[in-house]
């Protein structure tokens, strides 16, 4: 499966995407653990991290399906003002 990084995480990892091999039935949280295995510098951000698949936020305990692209977001800060 693919993981995409945005903003702070993209800069911290130096990459926009990461390909992971996960066992069937793994959760978002398991994917995060695999991400941190490759990029330990992200571990401290876990309390602030948002996950999304497609155009929706997902809970950490959601089960991933084959072909899912998991987006890993820092807290959003758009809007100005």
């Amino acid at each position: 499966m693919a993981v995409r990084f945005f903003a702070r995480y993209r800069e911290a990892t130096g990459r926009e995407r990461l390909e992971l091999e996960l066992p069937d039935g793994g959760t978002v949280e398991a994917a995060w653990a695999a991400v941190v295995g490759r990029h330990p510098e992200l571990a401290r951000y876990r309390p602030f991290t948002l996950f999304a698949i497609g155009n929706d936020y997902v809970d950490p305990d959601q089960t991933l399906r084959p072909g899912d692209e998991l987006c890993v977001f820092p807290p959003v800060s758009g809007g100005g003002g």
Partner: protein
């Protein structure tokens, strides 16, 4: 998404005239526009410029959801437009424009205020502040 509505992530400068025109409706009595503007300082520290980044397809989907919720809460709303700019923005430039037309002004004010408050909580857009001596992504303790 209703006729006249507009939900976009764009790289070009934003124009209040354009969003006001897009929500124009012969049954509207008032239009309220919010423009979020790049300030020259953050907690007393001079800002040089900002950069915005988005997950554009998801951000546009979330903007559409905000518009749908606005219409659900304020049925007299006639049209909604929400545009967020990304890329490099200078002091005084507009990063976000929200326009709401409604039969009466109270609904337009309330709906527009709701839309910007919700946008800041839900839409995947990120802001990086550039200072004379460094830069920081906003909203993440421990930078």
């Amino acid at each position: 998404m209703e006729t006249g509505d507009l939900y976009r992530i764009v790289e070009e400068p934003l124009s209040p005239d354009a969003v006001a025109g897009s929500v124009g409706n012969p049954a509207a009595g008032g239009i309220v526009i919010f423009s979020g503007v790049v300030r020259n300082e953050k907690d007393g520290r001079p800002v040089k410029y900002l950069e915005y980044e988005a997950h554009a397809p998801m951000a546009e989907a979330k903007l559409r959801e905000i518009g749908a919720e606005v219409r659900r809460r304020w049925p007299s709303v006639k049209a909604v437009a929400i545009l967020h700019r990304i890329g490099r923005l200078e002091i005084g430039e507009s990063s976000v424009l929200i326009a709401v037309s409604a039969a009466h002004r109270r609904e337009a004010f309330e709906a527009c205020h709701y839309a910007i408050d919700t946008l800041k909580q839900t839409v995947p857009v990120w802001k990086k502040e550039h200072f004379e001596d460094g830069e920081v992504w906003v909203g993440l303790q421990g930078g």
